[in-house]
């Protein structure tokens, strides 16, 4: 159950984007933490060598480098492409909720707020587990509660935004890659490329009445199955085709009975005809719901 959000481009197109879950965002952040930790260890290692020359300069460099690393890593990547290494790996991106470009000032503030969302709670946890709660400045129940609220803030709001996101006017969206697959109709078409002959003798015939029963949702399910059947073992897919064919035949009142080897062809052709029929309906603005739902009205 992913949350969706609409992004309106300057061309006035409404794009639907996914909002990642909180734990997915945490995963991306963990990747970033791992990267940062590795680089930090690298810095400490290098400065350990440098301390042979000068202990003091080495310490100074390591302090400065670590400071700029932990604060600058996020800012650098977010300015450059809107996604840190962890986010990129998970296919996330930071955008401004009003659809405009991501301002640098938004990036600054959303990273500065990480102090109280992550680093301070971390220190608190460390202090508690070390057993000396009294030694930190912010002791007591109410500040503790506030800090818990800030850290868990993404659970409490509509777009899973952090406190930093709220103050920056940004949100994190998920953009998975999408591969364009061949049109299913083209796949089964027996066209001769030079002569451009179309397949005119279909094996099965469907009347308009039959094609009027299913709707868009069922077509999508059929499409999904026809696109991905090669991922399951052949025996399973044969069974699947059998079940599906039987269901369809029953529902649309198809008169003939079919042999096992005809099932796949049946489904392909049904898909073609059904899609053409429904796209016709789409062009004429008619409803694409299946008949049982239409009758409810």
């Amino acid at each position: 159950m992913k949350k969706h959000e609409e992004l309106i481009t300057p061309e006035n197109i409404a794009l639907t984007v996914n909002i990642p879950n909180v734990y997915e965002r945490i995963e991306a952040f963990l990747i970033d933490l791992v990267v940062l930790s590795i680089i930090t260890l690298g810095i400490l290692f290098i400065t350990r060598f440098m301390s042979i020359i000068s202990n003091e300069i080495a310490n100074a460099i390591s302090m400065l480098a670590i400071f700029f690393l932990w604060n600058g890593y996020f800012i650098y990547y977010e300015l450059k492409r809107g996604a840190t290494i962890g986010k990129k790996k998970k296919g996330f991106r930071i955008v401004s909720i009003d659809g405009n470009f991501l301002r640098p000032s938004a990036i600054y503030v959303r990273n500065l707020m990480r102090e109280i969302e992550f680093f301070l709670p971390l220190k608190l946890l460390a202090a508690i587990t070390a057993g000396n709660l009294l030694s930190i400045d912010i002791s007591g129940f109410w500040p503790f509660l506030w800090i818990v609220i800030f850290s868990f803030f993404p659970y409490f709001n509509k777009r899973n935004r952090r406190i930093g996101d709220i103050f920056a006017g940004t949100m994190v969206i998920s953009i998975p890659q999408a591969k364009l697959q061949k049109d299913l109709i083209e796949k089964t078409k027996l066209t001769n490329k030079t002569a451009k002959i179309e397949k005119t003798n279909f094996e099965f015939v469907f009347s308009d009445e039959m094609l009027n029963i299913y709707g868009k949702d069922e077509l999508e399910v059929l499409e999904r199955i026809l696109r991905s059947y090669s991922e399951i073992p052949k025996k399973e897919s044969k069974k699947l085709f059998a079940i599906l064919t039987e269901k369809i035949i029953k529902k649309i009142n198809y008169s003939e009975t079919l042999l096992q080897k005809q099932h796949k062809n049946f489904l392909d052709e049904f898909y073609q005809k059904q899609r053409k029929y429904l796209e016709n309906k789409l062009l004429r603005g008619k409803s694409l719901k299946r008949r049982t739902e239409r009758k409810k009205k």
Binding site: I13, A60, Y108, I166, E279, L283
Partner: protein
């Protein structure tokens, strides 16, 4: 079997693939890796893809195609509109963005300044009345040997400079990174209705006042301020900026303003973020002065000279750098 959607796709598919390739190139190497011809092509292809998406949504029931185009246009939108920070970001930041934003919120920073000053005055006055007040304001660990009963020699020891610069680079770096972090924390805690920054300003001011009183009692007040002020002016200014920024955010939460709370938080948050980022520069300079200059044997007059120079510099910087024509004098 001809389908309108199929025909349309066959016409447009090549251009979609080309857009995909360009987008891959941008996402790998940044938008600068495109030559001018490719950039013009990108704009055209993006618009074509956008119109394709609209068309396909209305004539095709191929879910894979719809999804593909939606994501293609989304990627295109993000890369065309959302991915380029200005060329001279750092220069622009320090010559325009930072001073302008700070000026805009002058009253917040002035309030922070007043709170700090009142903390100092009250700390000073309370400790002079009853030296036990010293302990309410001062953190014992940081104070070390310095307390109302300390002898003059012990107090002077803390002001003593060192002959060489041994250890000062490390000291300076530590001061810079530590103080910056404190500034960030002070700022981010400000969302609790601005209360934590106010509290921190007041108590830190109080500590300064109380310690000053101890030095004053021993007749070392001139030396004390000579020791504090050269870096202190810059550092206190940085703290005031961070605390002021925190108060900006705290107040933004409390009062929604004309356009609603979410909008308000965004505007105020971004401005406050700019101010805090800029304060890093001040922390850096303060760290240099505190780490090097303070520890080295400079005479008192030179210290006061540096202190007043920093004061004039920052006043000039925030008052007049990047001033727009329509800003009020």
């Amino acid at each position: 079997m001809t389908l309108k959607s199929l025909n349309f796709r066959q016409h447009r598919e090549k251009s979609w693939r080309e857009l995909e390739r360009l987008l891959d190139k941008i996402e790998q190497n940044g938008i600068k890796s495109l030559n001018p011809k490719e950039i013009i092509r990108l704009a055209k292809l993006y618009r074509t893809a956008s119109s394709s998406l609209c068309m396909i949504r209305n004539i095709s029931l191929d879910k894979n195609l719809n999804q593909y185009l939606e994501r293609l246009v989304t990627r295109g939108y993000l890369n065309v509109y959302c991915s380029k920070p200005p060329e001279n970001l750092v220069t622009q930041f320090f010559t325009q963005t930072f001073p302008q934003t700070t000026r805009k919120y002058f009253y917040y920073h002035f309030t922070a300044f007043l709170i700090l000053i009142s903390g100092i005055i009250i700390g000073f006055w309370a400790t002079s009345n009853d030296s036990l007040y010293y302990h309410t304001f001062i953190n014992e660990e940081l104070a070390g040997d310095r307390h109302p009963q300390s002898s003059k020699e012990i107090l002077e020891k803390y002001l003593a400079p060192q002959k060489n610069i041994k250890g000062l680079t490390q000291f300076s770096s530590m001061l810079f990174t530590h103080n910056s972090r404190v500034g960030f924390l002070c700022f981010s805690l400000g969302i609790m209705a601005g209360v934590p920054p106010i509290y921190l300003l007041f108590t830190n001011g109080g500590g300064l006042g109380a310690m000053s009183q101890v030095y004053h009692k021993n007749g070392l007040i001139v030396e004390w301020w000579a020791w504090i002020l050269p870096h202190g002016i810059t550092e206190f200014l940085a703290i005031i900026l961070c605390a002021g920024a925190g108060i900006i955010m705290g107040l933004a939460i409390i009062s929604p303003g004309k356009h609603g709370r979410i909008h308000q938080l965004k505007i105020r948050g971004q401005d406050a973020g700019v101010i805090v980022m800029g304060s890093v520069l001040l922390f850096f300079i303060a760290g240099l002065i505190e780490g090097y200059f303070r520890q080295l044997p400079f005479p008192i007059t030179v210290r006061y000279l540096l202190a007043s120079s920093t004061l004039f510099f920052w006043c000039w910087y925030f008052a007049s750098v990047g001033k727009k024509i329509h800003e009020k004098a």
